[in-house]
Symmetry: C2
Subunit: 219 residues, 2 copies
Amino acid sequence: MARDLDKLQRSILRMAGAVEEAIYQATRALQERSPSLARQVVEGDSQIDNLENEVQDECLKILALHQPVAVDLRRCCAVLLICTDLERMGDLAVGIAERAIVLSKLPQPAIPDRVARMTHGATRMVRMSLDAFVHQDAEAARAVIRMDDEVDEDNAIIITELIGGMKTTADQIEAGLSLFSAVRHIERIADHATNIAEDVIYLVEGELVRHHPEAITRV
Amino acid sequence: MARDLDKLQRSILRMAGAVEEAIYQATRALQERSPSLARQVVEGDSQIDNLENEVQDECLKILALHQPVAVDLRRCCAVLLICTDLERMGDLAVGIAERAIVLSKLPQPAIPDRVARMTHGATRMVRMSLDAFVHQDAEAARAVIRMDDEVDEDNAIIITELIGGMKTTADQIEAGLSLFSAVRHIERIADHATNIAEDVIYLVEGELVRHHPEAITRV
C-alpha cells in the first residue's frame, strides 16, 4: 500500500502544479491583456481534468484494495476532497482567462492596482495550502484560513470601485462586468484554498474543521 | 454496517432537504422582492453547515470502523462528495438571498421572465439529481447532466439582456450587477446538481464520468 500511497501523493502534486500554473497564467493574461496567454489556459484545462480522473481512480483503488485505516484512510479521503477543489480552481482559471480574452478586445480602463494585490493574496493562499498538505502542517493550514478575510476585503473594495466607474462611464459597463466576474473568480480560488487548508487539518488531526471557527483560531 | 449506512442515507437526505428548501426560498425572495424571506435563508445556513459536519463524520466513521468494499465503499465516497456539493449549494442560496436583500432596496427594473425559467430548470436539476441518488438511477442522472446546457443558455441570454439594460440606464447599474451575480449563482447551483449526477453514475456503475462526455451521452 505504501507504494500506491506514494504514487497518489505524486499524482495529486502533479495536478496541483498544473492548477497553480493555470492560475498564474490566467491572472497574468488578465493583467497584461494577453489573449494568447489566456488561450493557453483554456486549452490546458483538459489536462487538469485528466489528472483529476487519474487521482480519483487511484484513490478509489486504494480504498477498495487496501482498505486503509487511521491516517492512511484520512489521507485518501483528504486527497479525494482536495482534488475536487483543485479541479474547480482549474475551471476558475479558465473563467479568468475567458474574461481576459474579452477584456483584451475592449477599450477598458486600467485594472485597479488592488486586483494585483488580491491576486497575490489568493495565489499565496493556494501555494501555502498545498505546502501545508505536503508537510502535513495544521498550523500553516490555519494561517491560510485566516488569510481569506483579507482577500474578501480586497474583493469588496474593488467591486465598489468598479460600480463607481461603471456609473460614470457607460462605455465601461461591458469591461466592468468582465472584470467584476474575473475578480469574483479570484475570490473563489481563495475560498477553495481555504477548503484545502481545512482538509489538511482533518488529515493531520483527524478532526473536521469546516464550519468550526473555534478550531481555526486555536493556536 | 447496514444500520450505519441507513443512518447515513437519512442524514444526507435531511441535508438535501434543507438545501432544496434554502434554494427555493432564496429564489422566491429574489422574485418577490422579499427581504424577510431572504433573511430566513441567511439565518438557516448554519443548520446546513451542521448537517454537513454530521454527514462527513458519519461517513468517515463508517469507512474507519467497517472498512466497506464494493458498492458500500462507493456509497460512502459518493456521499462524501455529494455533501460537499450540497453545502456549496447552500452557500449559493445564501448568496442569492443576499442579492435579493440588496435588490429589494433598489429601484430595480423588472426581473427578466427568463430568470424564472432558468430558476425552474436549475431547481429541477437539483431535485432530479437527488431522486437519481435515492433510486440509484444512472439514466436519470445522465438526463440531469444533459439539462445543464439549457440552464447555461438561459444564463448567457439573461446576461446579454442585463448588459443592454445597464448601458442605456446608468441608474440600473447597481441593480444590474446584483442581478448578474444572483443569476450566476443559480447557474452554479445547476453545475453542482451536475456534479451530484456524476457521483450517482459512479455510485451505480463504479465508473467515474467526470470529464468523460462519452459516458454521459451513452444510452
